[in-house]
Symmetry: C2
Subunit: 502 residues, 2 copies
């Protein structure tokens, strides 16, 4: 069970004054702490209904308009209302009737991390009281959540993932702000020690080969501050996934979601991706990929390896081998191209009865599927997802652990046009990194460097261009190709300011 | 059981005439076909004794001198004897007493691939007779094998791996030379068809989510010629490993080996690496890595994943979790940094009884070990390798499958100084890519571009410089640091000629 977490929407970065009509606290710690326990995610809109990110502050009329799958109005934060932290730009649009409710969700917050005090530390030691000049720790946070099979998991993750990250960081508040290497071991609660096991032979382990293979028990691996933050984010995704699982048992939360989360902490940007959303940095016109997509094709070998080691997960309906097409029963005995879990290349094998099963991984590109069901292999939720008309669970093949990439903001002098762009697959399905970079650069050139709305205008333009214009033959791009019929959500985050990087 | 394979040491490439004293057939297919069956690897020196690559053609006196671990004479092909195919340069030296017998082995051959004829195709169809203008297929081959715990596996692989590659290519002779895409299915021997299974629900599979997830049964994946060659090399490594396993049962073959194999076929160079040897291309001074090393550190997650899924392989002595140092019994209940199989970062966990086990992966850099025993995670052999003083097998954690990288020789106009360098870890332990490139460039500049011995001189210089000079305090490099005390074997292969690339 997670401890309670105090979170705060802290003051806007860069000295922008409160916008008229703002309803969020700005200059003080936030209202009663939200705990990432089950209670925090109860009630609408989790599990159904239609909701949009709180930071859009839509009126009920506007919410209704945003839910119009025919009109597909592009939404972004209004200048007259609240401005997003870090001058972040944002825009989104609903899908063209692909699913009933918009399945993208987003979050943009500044979160204050409280030190964790041991429940047994009584009286409270000074280091828990914020005395002795110890600095508070806070992080900036952006999240995009692309849901499938219902909006429940995406809504829940958008409201809670940053609190889980906060919770994972609570043990690290002082460690991360201390320049000395992190301690390998921390004091803990004393346990009743069981009798020491006899650990021979390894207690005096020696090996015959090679001669330099003697285990070195005195080894100590150095662990960096950065890898602690990565570990905290990875574990936060796991806890978030466990919480969704608990909620799904009560049927309040449906489906799963891809999650792309960005944390700015102590000078570094951590981009954590689990799914097929994408993040790129555009710096001086150059593109730096900050994520990769996790799909049945990119994770084929991990999935096949699991199916090979745990064939019972395949339910006697699937084979872990890959084939370039379905095999027909009459082809038994012929030779067919195949790929095993440890192969990158293809070879021929004689077709046996077992090869008639459906391949665990099947299809190409956007049509590739795990067990004929799902096209992404990492994300949150999906605990109840089964192969159609069967009792075979998909979840064991999905991973909730993100890949985290790190970008050190202090290593480069950024100009106002250098940005981090986050987008769900609705954006990237119809455009590529270069085109996105060109659009962003073009839009930003049209605004003064200190115009706070320029990043939202860039996000807006990206969404409009990838959605296209409604013509007789559907939504069309400028080149008359089909526009993206999916939800599209985009953050444009300036790297050059107005953040205070120190 | 593998079919018989006819192999040939074909004519030297580039029109170099037979060297005086050459004992190998040159201009005609080789002597009676060697079959990569068990019989082909019987007798000395497999399993013991001391042997050097046949292409060195050492006299018994020279062999004795090569076995001198104190003198460490550098060996390379003598100009007066046989020259290696493709003007290949080669040099090697024995270790400084690290192990009794030199554990590196090497091979350099040209292999002719015969079409496979079905044993049932009687009378022999025309396509099996080489008529109808069908071209023969041959490949150039270079292999380096760095043995451990005995020379048996390395010797056996050096004599047979290319025959296994040849065997895997036999089905592909015509397919690879046909410009149309490879057929997905080949005719085979008809089997007695069992009654068709009821494959519902997937026979009419549909899925609820996402809406575009319907399986497309009519999909056909395009497979390239290149990926067939990669698959053939991968499967050849597997068959080689199986053959070593069969031999090890009879105790004739000891130990295991890293394997780095290069195949030149139809204009492309395939570099297959399983272990910690390394291949780089030096082209116009630029370095192109052609392999990566497989070690407990680079393959940590694959190994931990296996230990996590199959804890019985850890024999109740090891934990799949990684810790930065050994945990002491008295630390139970404290918090320690750890890394799980799906993490890149580190986090703290409360130490439990199970965490006192030895970590599956432990140590850093060259000292990293799997189960405190072995420092490489891919290679051939090691079927009998166990954790010291226990019955825990290491082999399940090792992979015999290489990573194959491809370089298209036809895409670039190579000059005589562009080379592919292959080296065992004895070379790379004391030098880096840049230094190797500089030495090679420096040596090659000292010889005429058409001097056939220039590549052997480059290999020779690389070996001499990484071995160092024997001083009072051992073998020392030019900078007085310790030289490599390991076996060192190096191929230098010219990319610009004299090969005929078409």
């Amino acid at each position: 069970m997670l401890g309670r977490v105090r979170t705060a929407v802290a003051q806007l970065v860069g000295g922008l004054g409160p916008a008229p009509g703002a309803q969020h606290p700005r200059d003080s710690p936030a209202p009663p702490p939200a705990a990432p326990g089950p209670s925090a995610c109860r009630g609408p809109p989790v599990g159904g209904g239609f909701s949009r990110p709180a930071f859009l502050q839509l009126t009920s009329e506007e919410l209704q308009r945003a839910d119009d799958h025919a009109g597909r109005a592009v939404q972004s934060p209004r200048e007259s209302r609240r401005r997003l932290p870090w001058s972040t730009g944002y825009a989104e649009v609903i899908n063209a009737g692909k699913s009933q409710h918009n399945e993208d969700q987003a979050c943009c917050e500044v979160v204050v991390v409280d030190r964790r005090c041991s429940p047994r530390c009584n009286p409270v030691p000074k280091e828990c009281t914020g005395e002795q000049g110890r600095k508070d720790l806070y992080f900036h946070y952006w999240g995009l959540f692309d849901g499938h099979a219902g909006s429940g998991a995406a809504v829940m993750a958008s409201k809670l993932l940053h609190l889980h990250i906060c919770d994972q960081l609570r043990d690290l508040v002082d460690i991360l702000q201390d320049s000395s290497p992190p301690p390998l071991c921390l004091p803990g609660i004393a346990l009743e020690l069981p009798a020491e096991r006899n650990r021979a032979p390894l207690a005096q382990a020696d090996v015959e080969l090679p001669s330099d293979a003697l285990p070195r028990f005195h080894l100590e691996k150095a662990v960096s501050h950065e890898s602690l933050v990565i570990g905290a984010i990875e574990n936060a995704f796991k806890r978030m996934d466990e919480q969704i699982e608990r909620e799904q048992m009560t049927r309040l939360v449906a489906g799963g979601c891809c999650a792309l989360a960005v944390v700015y902490l102590l000078g570094k940007v951590y981009v954590a991706n689990a799914g097929d959303s994408r993040a790129i940095i555009i710096r001086n016109g150059e593109i730096i990929p900050m994520s990769r997509e996790f799909t049945p094709e990119t994770e084929r070998q991990r999935l096949q390896f699991l199916g090979f080691l745990r064939p019972e997960l395949l339910g006697n309906e699937f084979t872990h081998l890959e084939f370039p097409r379905r095999i027909q029963h009459k082809e038994l005995g012929k030779k067919m191209l195949y790929r095993d879990q440890n192969m990158h290349g293809w070879a021929y094998k004689r077709i046996e009865e077992d090869d008639l099963k459906f391949p665990l991984i099947y299809g190409e590109g956007k049509k590739a599927r795990v067990m004929a069901t799902i096209g992404v292999t990492r994300g949150l939720g999906d605990h109840d997802l089964k192969v159609y008309n069967s009792n075979i669970h998909i979840k064991p093949f999905l991973s909730c652990v993100p890949e985290v990439r790190v970008y050190d903001l202090t290593q480069y002098e950024h100009c106002p046009d250098d940005v981090l762009v986050l987008g769900t697959d609705g954006l990237w399905d119809v455009t590529n990194d270069r085109e996105v970079a060109d659009v962003v650069t073009e839009v930003l050139m049209g605004y003064e460097p200190n115009d706070p709305c320029r990043y939202t205008m860039a996000a807006y333009e990206l969404v409009v261009r990838s959605r296209g214009v409604l013509k007789e033959r559907g939504w069309r791009l400028a080149n008359d190709k089909l526009g993206s019929g999916d939800d599209i959500s985009v953050f444009v985050i300036p790297l050059g300011g107005p953040g205070n990087y120190t």
